[in-house]
Symmetry: C2
Subunit: 501 residues, 2 copies
């Protein structure tokens, strides 16, 4: 390693330490911080964020990137060195394009917007949020112009969350999917009585739920030497370096899936964060490739594995040992059906596997229209409800259950939503490939064995950290780009069978 | 406020944010961090510490101090402005005197020393620690030479923990105290059967202990909107700005005082940290004046209030409601006696109020001899045991219970111990003054009312943050410098009565 590369890595290590420290403060804020700690905490986090940004966009880093880059022609695209330079350069150029004063304005606007949204949602009063969303949309348009784009303005925003992916690509994936999903929802709705999920709403002791969840994720492979689980209002995964990944969950005494699938979902994220090669730690290559790829891991474990028949063949008897009276009249099959009930609903985060992506398409379309100025913020509620009617056949009774339900826009996050669906699709595409390469995979899942699947994901995906884009990973691992074909087939097969179609 | 003062405060705010962030990381490390998080965490904390140091000792801060100082003649000594300049200048000049490379060497040595000490104490093998302690002593001598001193080399080290206090002053306070305490211990030892504390070693449910402790400190005034309590191996208090103060405790099922008095002790520290005027936040004036003054607050609540007869007149009936069978044959008086049993013992942190300061004097004397090169590290165990014999009449069976018991030296902390005793003394001196100014104070304590005492401490002490030294505070509040007279009188009266002398 040259002196320049060493110096580059030293400086990137400082940036990484600052980001990790900020993440610890954020974790604490969402888990244990007392209420009056909020004000000093926001200042501490702002300082860490600002210092990390300043250290990263320094001219020195630019010079080192140039110097190391020119000496580094000998290394292949996949090598740690070439990848470090490529990904750091990408991050660096993007970070340099946005003026610090603008970042501060966006942060400030988002912080006020978040507060206004909280109030607006509580009162279900879109008017309270409207002026803030208007300002946020204008700033996001400005951000896109700073970042630059070739084709569509939305490309610049999407790229923040899903590097390399374009709006047109997403549309090409979503377009056929929309027809398939609305048709499937329609068909399943006609047999909505075929699945009864009342058992999930019985009373389940919170501590027993917690303990069961811990047992499940331990067996999946969550390493409690390198992580822990705590409670928070909104579940999330975060990490502070290779040896310390944290997940949170929430427990609802009267709704078993809340904790259970929330915990498995976050574990999927955590396994990804725990799995990059230690050599990548404290560099921009540490972590996950993109939000979409991250979501593929949470959805793979939560849905493709966690809501599968084989999974519950193993776990249902164990769950019934914990809750014998509540599950007395159930068996693995009835429980499997209950956790896979499909029903159009208003709230995205509570949606089933079939309707979920329709919620996403709606948001993706509205976001595009907003930044292309094809719709005004004031008209969002009406547009939202019209699309809900069109895609899911239902109309929210108020905006709290409609266009005010998600936090993302309020904190200045436009371009994020699509990654949830891309992740769901990629999860299925990956799992299909894993089945090809591990012929006994389904049998292993029925036996409660996950080590080979996890090992396969580690080797093919997790180990690479941020080296590759979603498209690069899809091609490397499955031989083709991300596609919705496998996802649609998976949904049709699984739910067709459950609903007897 | 001039532009220069604003800029100075802005820069000091960044330093404060970095220190607070480091404190959050340290708190997490000691409470919730998974084992494998240790390595990345140490790097993150080192980065934050280094950046805070670099930002603080920058030439810019020096220039701003000069500029603001020259314009600031109009403000009185006690004013926020003059105090900010005075205290920041003191910190700044000291920080600039020590080369960064030396600080790094000390940190590295301490980190290795801590590991060696942990092993040495576990095996009770001083030889394992000896070479590390030798290096640490040499570095501390070097540190003292960097910092500078007028009279005794130990002054420079003591000043790190108790600004403005000299070795000679401490000796003048300790000298008469030593005779009084050894005599008192001797006298009490002759009647050692007069107090039976077996009840404290009964079995007490841990959760019930925890809940009782929370009830006690809430009533004392710990604000759970601005703080919280967690568990850790070694109890401590930390804070991350004016709205967020954390304490930790530990619970022993078979030793009630562990949690109870530990919790009250840390609450004393926390109330001090919660009490400075908010205007001082994010400046070097935030926090406590010194370790000695901090300890005065923990000891005041733990011992002077918490181990008083009046305190238990109120709390004993409530404790017996929680533990009716364990406390069936006790009353407030017998319980009060039990928690005040005096007995020479090997371990400082478990010592009673009477013997405690003798443990301290021993350490203070040995530290002085070490840095004055009057004793070699290799001879410390023998010297320790000889002094234990002389002051307490007992000799530790091994070094784990002797000179290896405390962590301080291992991490390069020489000059710290005296502050524990200075704090114990100051606690009594303060409480005497409070009694003069609040005539019904003892009655209030019998009624479980602490608001007036806390208000008095807030107004006279806490509010000032780091503005004044221990000596300045003692004179302002009690009209005289720190003295041991009140402390000796308090101990003689309290324990003379308990032991019927």
């Amino acid at each position: 390693m040259t002196e320049e590369l060493k110096e580059l890595k030293r400086r990137l290590g400082v940036v990484s330490d600052l980001h990790n420290a900020e993440a610890v403060l954020s974790w604490d804020q969402q888990t244990y911080m007392p209420p009056k700690g909020a004000v000093p905490r926001s200042m501490q986090m702002a300082t860490l964020g600002r210092l990390a940004h300043e250290h990263f966009i320094s001219d020195d880093i630019g010079k080192l990137l140039d110097q190391v880059g020119s000496e580094n022609g000998a290394h292949g695209y996949d090598s740690d060195e070439a990848s470090l330079l490529r990904v750091t350069r990408r991050d660096y150029d993007k970070a340099r394009r946005v003026p610090s004063a603008f970042v501060e304005e966006l942060t400030r606007t988002a912080s006020i917007g978040l507060e206004a949204w909280t109030q607006a949602r509580m009162e279900s009063n879109f008017k309270l949020f409207q002026p803030h969303l208007e300002k946020i949309v204008e700033l996001e348009i400005q951000l896109a112009n700073y970042l630059g784009y070739q084709d569509r303005i939305y490309d610049a925003l999407l790229d923040e969350y899903e590097p390399g992916m374009t709006t047109r690509q997403v549309e090409q994936i979503f377009q056929p999917l929309k027809g398939e999903l609305t048709a499937l929802v329609n068909t399943l709705q006609k047999k909505s009585d075929a699945v009864n999920d009342a058992v999930l709403h019985d009373e389940y002791d919170e501590q027993q739920q917690w303990d069961f969840g811990i047992a499940v994720i331990k067996q999946i492979g969550f390493d409690f030497q390198s992580g822990r689980q705590d409670k928070s209002a909104h579940p999330f995964t975060t990490g502070f370096g290779i040896g310390d990944t944290r997940i949170t969950t929430r427990v609802d005494k009267h709704f078993l899936p809340m904790m259970l699938f929330g915990t498995i979902h976050e574990t999927g994220h955590a396994l990804y964060d725990m799995g990059y090669r230690p050599e990548l730690d404290r560099t921009p290559l540490a972590g996950g490739a993109s939000l979409g790829v991250h979501e593929s891991q949470s959805r793979l474990w939560e849905n493709v594995v966690g809501r599968s028949r084989g999974f519950w063949k193993y776990w249902f008897p164990r769950l019934r040992e914990v809750f014998p009276s509540q599950l007395a009249d159930q068996d693995a099959e009835s429980f499997y059906r209950a956790i896979n009930k499909v029903a159009p609903s208003f709230i995205r985060v509570e949606a089933d596997e079939v309707t979920y992506s329709l919620h996403i398409m709606l948001r993706f379309e509205i976001e595009n229209m907003l930044v292309e100025r094809k719709v005004k913020v004031v008209d969002v509620p009406e547009l939202w409800n019209a699309k809900m009617k069109e895609y899911l056949g239902i109309v929210p009774p108020d905006d709290a259950q409609g266009c005010l339900q998600d936090i993302h826009w309020s904190y200045g996050s436009i371009g994020y939503f699509a990654t949830y669906s891309l992740g769901s699709m990629f999860a299925v595409q990956l799992f299909e490939q894993a089945q090809r390469e591990i012929p006994t995979l389904l049998q292993q899942i029925e036996n409660g064995e996950y080590a080979e699947l996890l090992g396969w994901l580690r080797k093919n995906l997790h180990a690479h950290g941020r080296k590759f884009t979603l498209d690069e990973l899809a091609k490397r691992i499955t031989g083709e780009s991300l596609q919705s074909r496998s996802y649609v087939a998976y949904l049709k097969k699984k739910f067709g069978e459950i609903y007897g179609i």
